[in-house]
């Protein structure tokens, strides 16, 4: 055990220390005050809050195998949301690996707006298996 003793300081230095400490306390309080009253924003990586985005894929998750690799086709997303939408899809569908390609046998179609079945032309090399109606479509690779 080590005991350290009191240090006697010059009164002028004590005043300087007190002013410095008071300034640190004041600025910390101001900084915290500014932080406390800053508005809280909801995080929306692909334009919608993550829990909502997660829910879009709930039905699809039930249809997919418990593990494996599926492809990904993201259509209609703004350029700023294109990649976040893919990341969020992988987040929603884990532990299934979502590859950003059309190579796997099953491909997840992620449309920014739900496609109308009557007017939409699906990609030629993909066969729609199920349209979940919320912009999520499950495709199978078409073998010629």
């Amino acid at each position: 055990m080590i005991t350290q003793t009191k240090v006697r300081r010059d009164p002028r230095k004590v005043l300087q220390i007190r002013i410095a400490v008071a300034a640190v306390a004041l600025f910390s309080l101001l900084s915290t005050g500014w932080f406390v009253f800053e508005p809280v924003k909801q995080f929306q990586p692909a334009g919608t809050p993550l829990p909502e985005y997660d829910k879009r894929f709930e039905e699809l998750r039930k249809r997919l195998p418990p593990h494996g690799v599926v492809g990904y086709l993201g259509i209609g997303w703004d350029s700023g949301y294109q990649l976040p939408a893919y990341y969020a899809t992988q987040y929603a569908l884990a532990p299934v690996v979502v590859e950003n390609s059309l190579q796997p046998e099953l491909v997840v179609g992620n449309f920014a707006t739900p496609p109308a079945p009557a007017t939409t032309t699906w990609p030629a090399n993909l066969l729609p298996i199920q349209n979940f109606g919320n912009g999520v479509v499950l495709f199978a690779k078409r073998h010629n």
């Binding site: 055990m1 350290q4 240090v7 910390s28 969020a88």
Partner: protein, 389 residues
């Protein structure tokens, strides 16, 4: 309830481990806050490690929980045997010249007000965004946790090179902790990563305050804690669930324990070992340990009249380990780095046009009603014209 019991068991195990490593002569209540804050990181580290071992050896969740209870009981018995007949004395006793008085009261009041403000804001932020803010939280750490928890036998699928942006080379401490508490609960909840983020943020504050208070006096500790709490970017990083705050916690813990080990030379080995564990948990700590600054830090403390550690075998071992770890352990595997560089996602337009020309023409190279091609890729017009070919 199971989650709460798991959290208490985790923190208690960490606390007991820290108490075991604490120098002899001090007992349960001495430096309580310092030991508690260190115990949070230590407990989470141990539980995360055990969880990963249980995945590797396919141990059921109930067996894992039982093992953890047994470990806690055994460690507690060890601590009781070790601490029996010891007096309640402090590791260091520092009498500061400003422990009371107006300035001390001002500091204390400012600290309490700042702490309440920070707690309020962080809880509000975590209630709004329990899954975190920013990329790393959901695209790396919580996604890793989902692979570990949902994957079952296929948890290693998360290391697939098909998703290189997922950083398979990143440490599994945070995801392992999250997945472990999910396994306690038997379901996924965003409350777990949110609670961990909260725990690490405020444990770091508690660790800084208590370590400085033990080493330099309470007012210095309050001042350090006040400055950290008054840094919004620190709190924002904490609630965003990025790994930077846990990393800073472990770096701080390693430094605090190294300095403490230097101050208590008669029983510094256990603190040095503990410091090493903390540094290993903090992924990039090897680089720091390798640095000359640490040697000079030890040397400057030794210069107080005891001994110079800068050329001591312990310091040499730390420096050698640091240099080796920064070259080997801390570098991502070569295949991971290469797969990341060659990732199709880095330029998926080029990838799609080269690998799937027919799809590229269909999706991104449609023609309008007059047959004119619309080539402004990813633009508004493409979405309108997706169905026309």
């Amino acid at each position: 309830m199971a989650g709460l019991a798991g959290a208490v068991l985790c923190a208690a195990t960490g606390f007991v481990l820290i108490s075991l490593a604490w120098p002899k002569g001090s007992w349960f209540k001495s430096e309580l806050l310092l030991k508690l804050s260190l115990g949070v990181g230590c407990g989470l580290g141990l539980f995360s490690f055990l969880y990963l071992l249980s995945l590797v050896f396919s141990v059921p969740a109930k067996t894992l929980a039982a093992t953890e209870v047994v470990i806690f009981v055994l460690l507690s018995i060890l601590l009781w045997i070790r601490g029996h007949n010891l007096h309640d004395q402090k590791l260091l006793q520092y009498t500061a010249d400003m422990s009371s008085g107006l300035l001390g009261q001002t500091l204390r009041a400012s600290f309490v007000v700042t702490l309440i403000g920070a707690l309020h804001r962080c809880l509000k932020e975590l209630a709004t965004n329990p899954q975190g803010i920013g990329w790393d939280a959901f695209a790396i750490w919580n996604l890793h946790a989902r692979f570990l928890f949902r994957g079952g036998e296929h948890w290693k699928d998360g290391f697939s090179s098909l998703i290189p942006w997922f950083h398979p080379d990143y440490p599994l401490f945070l995801p392992g902790s999250v997945a472990h508490f999910w396994s306690y609960l038997g379901r996924e909840t965003t409350a777990v990563p949110a609670t961990l983020a909260f725990a690490f943020t405020f444990s770091t504050v508690a660790l800084l305050f208590s370590a400085v208070a033990v080493l330099r006096g309470r007012n210095h500790g309050l001042l350090a804690g006040l400055m950290l709490l008054g840094t919004p970017s620190f709190l924002r990083q904490g609630v965003s669930q990025y790994a930077d705050i846990p990393l800073s916690f472990f770096l701080l813990a390693a430094i605090a324990l190294l300095v403490l080990a230097d101050r208590v030379p008669e029983s510094n080995f256990s603190l040095l070992v503990l410091s090493g564990f903390m540094a290993v948990r903090g992924d990039a700590a090897g680089d720091f340990i390798a640095s000359r600054e640490l040697g000079s830090l030890l040397a400057s403390n030794g210069a107080a009249g005891r001994h110079d550690h800068s050329h001591s075998p312990v310091n040499r071992v730390f420096q050698t380990f640091g240099r080796w770890s920064s070259r080997t352990i801390l570098q991502p595997p070569r295949h991971a780095a290469e797969s990341y560089r060659s990732s199709p996602i880095l330029d998926d337009r080029a990838m799609v046009s080269q690998r799937f020309p027919s799809f590229w023409r269909l999706a991104f190279d449609p023609r309008d009603s007059r047959g004119h091609c619309l080539r402004d890729d990813f633009g508004e017009r493409h979405r309108r014209n997706f169905s026309c070919r």
